[in-house]
């Protein structure tokens, strides 16, 4: 692959997916796109890139983008965000949403579904405390292939052992050969959609909680700031944003500020005036 071809690929990926690929990631491009090139019948990565340069092959473009996304995930990943959702946000919503009995949650980079299904299991465990409530989980990802997989709710033995307590496996999954399928009632709780965070996501509507974990790390700062700004517009004024453990809003977007007591949890900056999140902060200290 010539420097011109690599530069084209880097620009193509940045424009289409937000993913920033520097020269130091050339090995990653070659290892991930090599199989795509072979499968599509190209003799080399150069040939594949030339085809992308000519344009018009949307299926190939999508395959390239999906191959470059990272789909690492597991059930209850990092623990703390789920504890915060369960012990900090839900008790607050029990008070602030008591009239409408409705909470909308968005998993903005759901990969193969472990994060939204973890939330669905957690909400199932809490069902007795929220009779008649509707918890809507919208789960989106850039890669249509992983979204299709997530929708099946089918996981390998390896996947169900990563982060998922055995009691929840026995309770919510059925064995199908050497794989495990999550219960239909939990699958039905999650609406999966393919969605590119670079594009307009306002049609998804307003959310009370947004999980946007371990995806902003792949973007440059202006892209992070833009996405955070638009998430802020989709979030209820007393809602909450949960980022990955290595991610922050500091220096990126004034729409959010870190929750004073809970690392990884962010609240709308305007929340200082009204806000349940800060009332809560003092309550839990």
């Amino acid at each position: 692959m010539t420097p011109t071809e690599f530069a084209f690929l880097a620009r193509f990926l940045k424009e289409r997916s937000g993913i920033v690929i520097g020269e130091d990631k050339r090995y990653l491009v070659e290892s991930r796109l090599g199989p795509i090139a072979r499968k599509a019948g190209f003799a080399s990565l150069s040939e594949l890139t030339q085809r992308l340069m000519r344009g018009g092959d949307t299926a190939l473009a999508q395959s390239v983008i999906e191959a470059m996304t990272t789909n690492e995930t597991f059930f209850f990943r990092d623990g703390a965000p789920f504890t915060q959702f369960s012990d900090v946000l839900l008790p607050e919503f029990a008070k602030t949403r008591a009239a409408q009995k409705r909470v909308r949650i968005w998993c903005a980079a759901c990969s193969t579904g472990q994060e939204p299904y973890s939330l669905a299991m957690l909400l199932d465990e809490k069902a007795a405390q929220f009779p008649g409530w509707r918890f809507e989980i919208v789960a989106t990802d850039l890669a249509s292939e992983v979204v299709d997989r997530a929708r099946t709710g089918l996981f390998s033995q390896f996947e169900v052992q990563r982060g998922l307590p055995i009691k929840l496996l026995l309770k919510h999954f059925t064995q199908e050969g050497d794989r495990w399928r999550i219960a239909a009632k939990l699958r039905e709780r999650v609406q999966f959609r393919t969605l590119n965070l670079l594009r307009d996501f306002s049609p998804l509507g307003q959310f009370d909680v947004v999980f946007c974990r371990n995806v902003l790390i792949y973007f440059d700062e202006p892209t992070k700031a833009d996405i955070l700004g638009r998430i802020g517009k989709q979030l209820a004024p007393d809602g909450a944003l949960l980022l990955g453990s290595a991610e922050t809003v500091l220096g990126l977007n004034a729409a959010f500020r870190p929750h004073p007591s809970h690392r990884g949890l962010f609240v709308p900056a305007a929340a200082g005036a009204a806000p349940s999140a800060f009332r809560l902060a003092s309550a839990v200290r």
Binding site: G79, Q157, Q161, P165, I166, L170, T174
Partner: protein
């Protein structure tokens, strides 16, 4: 330093498990069957036990039943670690008093996740 007993008739599995658990700062003892493991538990009850199912002399299931009837035998966190991955086996192990269950093959992350789940990491 927490003490974990690794019970497996395969010396290779014991070696791999030892290496992983030592990486999580456990002190490790080893036993090649349930009977030897029970003798070790009578001397000093470990904090955690990584337990195989199929072993000669005394299998993991029988060991677990015996362990839980010993004075102090309800304290160790027991993580079954076996090639038996059928729901009926898992259910039986949990009913016998296991705290977690690992289906072989496993890796460091899975072992870490299970020991964290039972509160030992």
């Amino acid at each position: 330093m927490k003490h974990c007993l690794v019970v497996d008739d395969s010396s290779v599995i014991r070696k791999v498990a030892r290496r992983i658990l030592e990486g999580y700062s456990f002190k490790i003892s080893e036993a090649e069957n349930g009977q030897s493991a029970l003798a070790l538990c009578k001397q000093a009850m470990p904090d955690g036990i990584l337990l195989d199912w199929n072993m000669p002399v005394m299998d993991g299931y029988e060991f677990l039943s015996e362990l839980r009837s010993l004075p102090g035998g309800d304290t160790p966190k027991v993580v079954f670690c076996t090639t038996e991955n059928d729901v009926s086996f898992i259910t039986r192990a949990m009913r016998a008093g296991a705290d977690e269950y690992v289906m072989k093959p496993f890796d460091k992350e899975i072992i870490g996740s299970k020991f964290a789940e039972v509160g030992l990491i």
